[in-house]
């Protein structure tokens, strides 16, 4: 019912004369090799984003956003995001209703979904997108966000229980965009997915910083999942060695009942051939010595209409 209501809003918005909209289409193909012996290749992901802005006489008032994805040769198709956002003056406050990105850790400002160096949200909070309501905004150098949502992610629309998920975030950004950004987040509530159901109480610290040719990002999460303590650490560094090539490095550590630590190293090449991006990375698991090799070809189509 909720997705029908929001879809209906979209159809209405298309017919409102005062609007602007943007369409993005992304796609990637992925080859994976595990420990030399196991190979796989697939159309990793196709993602379509639609964004509409509805303005009144003085300003942008309502953003409508839809993001749908087909994953793993279209074996798994879902709507990641579908929301309406009412904008207050100059972004000081915004109310978002629908399915949106949770304001936890690095998620609001960094998306590793299409990259080979991944952040840890699926291990820590368990989900990346959820359906509910969010209040967020920017005041001077500080940003804030509070959300209450179903805690069920994107695998279903109807809530399976009455337990909700609350997420809070506060961040500080230096004067320029490249300056240090630090954030503190907390989440409380039950997360229910197809593979896991857990009560979680988590706190996260995150940072990102540009140093000319370097970009560094990090996140530390600590808390409880049911009765177990969990700890997560992520560090990602990108270094631009020439105009079209970035070196990428990632360290991931997750501790629950057992430890899982990986080091990922690779590069990204923005080729001049049809705007394709080629990413290669090797991920080494420290416990067990497993090795995974990835080759990804990625393309973004972008237009404003």
């Amino acid at each position: 019912m909720k997705k029908h209501i929001l879809s209906f809003l979209f159809i209405i918005a298309i017919n409102i004369p005062v609007f602007a909209y943007q369409v993005d289409l992304e796609t990637s193909a992925l080859y994976k090799n595990v420990d030399i012996n196991q190979n796989s290749a697939e159309l990793e992901r196709v993602g379509l984003s639609l964004k509409e802005i509805i303005s009144d006489e003085t300003g942008d008032r309502i953003y409508l956003f839809l993001r749908a994805e087909g994953e793993n040769n279209f074996a798994h198709n879902l709507i990641d995001q579908l929301y309406a956002q009412y904008k207050g003056p100059m972004g000081r406050w915004n109310i978002t209703i629908g399915r949106f990105t949770l304001p936890f850790g690095l998620l609001p400002n960094y998306d590793s979904e299409w990259l080979l160096v991944k952040t840890q949200e699926f291990k820590t909070i368990g989900i990346k997108f959820d359906s509910g309501v969010k209040l967020s905004g920017v005041i001077d150098d500080f940003g804030y966000a509070v959300s209450v949502s179903q805690g069920i992610g994107v695998d279903r629309w109807a809530d399976a229980d009455n337990d909700k998920l609350a997420v809070f975030r506060l961040d500080y950004q230096g004067e320029d965009f490249e300056d240090l950004r630090i954030g503190i987040s907390a989440s409380f509530g039950k997360v229910l997915t197809d593979v896991n159901s857990a009560y979680k109480k988590l706190i996260a610290l995150d940072f990102s910083r540009n140093f000319d040719s370097f970009i560094g990002r990090g996140e530390v999460v600590y808390g409880k999942e049911n009765d177990n303590n969990i700890f997560s650490a992520f560090l990602g560094i990108d270094y631009k060695i020439v105009s079209s090539v970035d070196l990428n490095f990632g360290f991931n550590h997750f501790q629950n009942n057992s430890n899982l630590s990986t080091i990922t190293a690779g590069f990204t090449y923005n080729s001049p051939f049809f705007g394709l991006t080629i990413r290669i990375a090797d991920k080494y698991r420290i416990e067990g010595g497993n090795n995974e090799f990835y080759l990804q070809i990625y393309k973004l189509f972008y237009s404003i209409i």
Binding site: A29, A41, D60, F177, E178, G275
Partner: protein
């Protein structure tokens, strides 16, 4: 063998789709503006609201713009986007444009604030990976304040300014945005914001 066949098939599918999109064959130089409100309030502290304006560029307009500033980069030839800012009395305060130029190490993204008289009131660098950082320094960016298009053209021709890639990109980008806003903004006075 099966995996290689699947990967090759996926690649051919992707490649054919790319061929159909002739406008997407090159790297697109568009500024995906992150944190717009943060920078907007720095450039216009009295702003109460802002509106996104997207203008489709006609072939004639593109020809006129490129005759003044040179060829536009891929991704900048079809649609021109800028923002109008108003105060609490709904009086127009100025414009903001998000610009992208080519650097030695990828795109240089920056934001330009313009008064209603089309004079620059500030420039903020959003993202750049250049080794030479002279163009990010306050003493360079402050040189643009209160400057109009004629002043920017003077800067472009000023041999006393050491023209690194980054400095050239910011001067060229500012000139391009002022010319584009002048040509395209005029046409939009009586049109819907579309």
């Amino acid at each position: 063998m099966n995996s290689i066949f699947k990967f090759t098939s996926c690649f051919i599918l992707l490649f054919n789709f790319v061929l159909l999109q002739s406008s997407c064959l090159e790297e697109a130089y568009t500024c995906i503006w992150r944190n717009p409100e943060r920078t907007m309030t720095k450039l216009f502290p009295k702003a109460k609201d802002y509106k996104t304006i997207n203008i489709k560029i006609t072939k004639e307009q593109l020809k006129t713009i490129e005759s003044k500033v040179g060829e536009l980069l891929p991704g900048q030839k079809e649609v021109y986007q800028y923002f109008e800012l108003v105060d609490d009395k709904n009086k127009m305060l100025g414009y903001i444009v998000a610009a992208t130029q080519k650097g030695d190490y990828g795109a240089i993204e920056f934001v330009i604030g313009l008064t209603v008289e089309k004079k620059i009131n500030g420039i903020y660098i959003q993202r750049a990976r250049e080794r030479d950082t002279a163009f990010k320094k306050k003493e360079f960016l402050d040189r643009f304040i209160d400057k109009n298009l004629d002043d920017i053209i003077e800067m472009e021709n000023d041999s006393k300014i050491k023209k690194t890639t980054g400095i050239t990109a910011v001067i060229t980008g500012a000139k391009k945005e002022l010319v584009s806003l002048d040509i395209l903004g005029k046409k939009e006075k009586n049109k819907d914001n579309k």
